[in-house]
Amino acid sequence: MSQKREDQQEVHLVLASNDPGRAYSALVLALGTVTMGAKCKLYCTMGALDIVKKGGASKITMPGAPSLDKYLHDAISAGVQITACGPSKEMLIQMGVTPDSLERGVDFEDVIGFLNEALPASKKGGMVLFI
């Protein structure tokens, strides 16, 4: 649903926590970004890997809000690119993350992959936010 243009503004979000206050904020920002017609990428690392594990987001709730699951799936179908950081095989195993256990539409990416897109984006006026 985001407009595709050469000069499209980009917002790159880093989420490193499964704390509902942070996770909801990140996904609200992601949905808001595509609503405003900008490109959005959400890079999930550390605690946030819980969110991109199959069924993980449904366990994160906030009083009065739909479950985080809805936000995650709406973000994916609206074109938000969501990636999961895999620092090392051992860490992923410890965190219970495998390629099969990732939500559909979420891909693995390391920090170089993230920066490879975030650096040029910020150079042309994009935003990189750590949540």
């Binding site: 649903m1 808001g32 595509v34 609503t35 809000a65 709406d74 609206a78």
Partner: protein
């Protein structure tokens, strides 16, 4: 409808284009949390088929922020025209079209 409901915000220089405009899509965002009222509106805007380009979209919201700020903002950003009507206390009906 214009005759029945009060326009509380005018986002068009040609309000007459809304007269008798067919509602091609209707979006009820009542009770939705931010940013869903705007998000669902944009989704409806992008799903409106070209053959219905002359129709308008109707958005219902109980959020004052959405009615007076967010939805007008996304309309202006996408160069859509809009009229915000007061449906009841804390309830607004917004008609938008290209």
């Amino acid at each position: 409808m214009q005759g029945e409901l009060r326009i509380v915000l005018n986002g068009t220089s040609t309000p007459e284009i809304f007269h008798g405009c067919e509602v091609a899509k209707s979006v009820d965002t009542t009770g939705m949390a931010c940013p869903y009222p705007s998000f669902e509106s944009v989704k409806a805007m992008s799903l409106l088929n070209d053959d219905k380009a002359n129709g308008c979209i109707e958005i219902i919201t109980d959020s004052e922020e959405s009615a007076f700020k967010s939805i007008p903002t996304i309309c202006q950003k996408r160069k859509w025209q809009f009229l915000v009507f007061e449906e009841a206390k804390d309830l607004w009906r917004i008609r938008i079209r290209r």
